[in-house]
Symmetry: C2
Subunit: 191 residues, 2 copies
């Protein structure tokens, strides 16, 4: 019991990891804990848009834990350059530290689920990753450009950075997203 | 698809509903979206402490949606007085507005799950409610008193306000919580 409670107190720190994405009301940037909640809701609401049959409760669990490595490794914004391998290594160390706070068997299960998400190869992980890309896309469009304006991205860059990941998990979502991206770059405006 | 996305954009507002409970690092108060994420993690980690057999994925879904009515109704802090029935009525109206943004069948399923949580009668709902009470208790203890200090509560008041709800879902958790409460009131200190 003490190990579980220590883990649950430790992950409170995810609420202080600030992402680049804005809240839709633009009052501040989103943190990784509330982002994880929002993605779990995306999974619950958009379950029937996945390309392949998915176990939506596994997808939800994956999304709940997918970012907790950021407690140690920080958020890596999609539009910023990275040294190949460095972020991955930091996240691996973070996963080992955090999941080892739990009783061994429990920690192993979560580590395995996190690695599955990172690899993105199973249907569940591919769909989870598509939601993780879809949500900030919608926030950018709803706020008149968000991080795309900050990074000075063109329509083609946006399509290249979001299209493959979203369509790998859900062509239905990407078809919808692409229409929104087209409309946004024709005339950027708040949704 | 448009209805689902409209709902997902609307619930972004839960990130701006601020609760009384502090973050463990005391930098600010918690919001209801990140609180909901944290509770879903509590369910995942503490599943085996429930009094009765529970479907932990249903508990997680319940906890993900349990507070979204606060978008319209606001958070009702446990240690503040309320007019009987008023908060319940506001929350009922909020649930009707928010869930009706979704396609009808989907909205009905979530409404039913939310009502089950509110009633707190099933094993799943009782356990969800016990976690919803356990988490702020731990935050208060970890921050040297938190909302209990603000409200000037005695040990007996704390036991009366947290004990029944936590033990209804998990006597294991309440046994642990009670020890922490006793130690806290003997000598309030940060965990």
């Amino acid at each position: 019991m003490k190990e579980q409670l220590a883990f649950l107190l430790e992950i409170d720190k995810l609420k202080s990891v600030v992402r680049k994405s804005p809240l839709i009301d633009r009052t501040r940037r989103e943190n990784s804990a509330e982002h994880s909640w929002h993605l779990a809701m995306y999974a619950l609401i958009l379950a029937d848009t996945a390309n392949a049959p998915v176990n939506i409760d596994r997808v939800i669990r994956m999304l709940l834990i997918h970012d907790i490595v950021e407690i140690d490794a920080g958020d890596h914004p999609i539009h910023e350059p990275t040294q190949a391998g460095v972020q991955e290594q930091l996240e691996q160390l973070a996963a080992e530290r955090l999941f080892s706070l739990l009783p061994e068997e429990h920690g192993k299960v979560l580590m395995s689920l996190w690695r599955e998400f990172e690899a993105g190869e199973t249907a569940d992980a591919a769909f989870a990753k598509s939601l993780d890309r879809m949500q900030p896309l919608l926030h950018n469009i709803a706020t008149g450009g968000g991080t795309w304006v900050e990074a000075g991205l063109s329509r083609d860059q946006v399509v290249a950075r979001y299209g493959p990941a979203i369509s790998a998990g859900s062509t239905t979502l990407w078809n919808e997203a692409e229409k929104l991206v087209e409309a946004h770059f024709e005339r950027p405006a708040v949704l």
